[in-house]
């Protein structure tokens, strides 16, 4: 039988895991959550509406899993400074390296809701409306979380409105150039 939406799950695993790691800041907790999410999606596949965004559906399941486990147990303290960085692929050292490490460290310090929002609307290309749907909050809440998160990152990275920026133009150009290669 063709057209089983479960066949599409595999496509979203890398993004799902990236989202999980950004939420949990812990690789093995993230993998547990991805596993739970995939099992839930698999067994509840009839609740997925064909033609809608499967990635949004999966991200929603994952974040619900995350927040319910966060409510259940006060989790052990996340390794704010280390784990998000540690999970990154090794990259060639170049002039953007230090800044990127700083960025990851700064990002890991944001509150869960701000990290989540920025991943959804800043990194993953979901609209504010989609993110609001996924998080079960008003669009204005998403906008405000995104603004506060970006503002905090700007402060942590010393990206002041008028001052010289920390991230070199070279880095920005490289990032923009790389964007063209991503199917995401």
């Amino acid at each position: 039988m063709t057209g089983d939406p479960r066949d599409e799950l595999v496509v979203h695993l890398p993004a799902l895991r990236a989202f999980a790691i950004s939420l949990t800041r812990n690789g093995s907790v993230a993998d547990d959550m991805v596993q739970d999410t995939v099992v839930k999606a698999w067994t509840n596949i009839e609740k997925f509406e064909p033609g809608t965004n499967m990635r949004a559906w999966l991200f929603t399941i994952l974040r619900n899993t995350f927040y319910s486990s966060r409510r259940k147990a006060k989790r052990e303290v996340a390794d704010v400074d280390g784990i998000f960085t540690e999970n990154m692929a090794e990259k060639p050292a170049h002039d953007g390296h230090l800044q990127m490490t700083d960025f990851r460290t700064a990002f890991a310090k944001l509150p869960d809701e701000q990290r989540e929002t920025l991943i959804l609307v800043g990194a993953s290309g979901f609209s504010y409306e989609e993110a609001a749907d996924m998080c079960g909050v008003a669009v204005g809440t998403i906008k405000s979380r995104a603004n506060r998160g970006r503002k905090r990152l700007a402060e942590l990275m010393h990206l002041d409105a008028d001052g010289p920026v920390e991230l070199t133009d070279k880095v920005t150009i490289a990032v923009v150039a790389n964007n063209g290669n991503s199917a995401f």
Binding site: P14, S22, T43, S124, N147, L159, V165, T172, F184
Partner: protein
């Protein structure tokens, strides 16, 4: 409402970095247990069942 909003330039840089960090994470290799998970789910489901064996 500008006080809560970082400058446009900062915002663009932040989002570019968010995309880059996220993409790098996506490109990391999946652990085996996640790679194998879908095959296991498929195998454990001879027919329409929601239980695990």
């Amino acid at each position: 409402m500008s006080n809560d909003t970082p400058s446009e330039r900062a915002r663009q840089q932040i989002d570019a970095n968010l995309k880059r960090v996220f993409r790098e994470q996506e490109q990391a290799e999946l652990p085996d247990r996640l790679k194998d998970l879908l095959a296991q789910l498929k195998a454990s489901e001879p027919s329409e069942q929601d239980g695990k064996s």
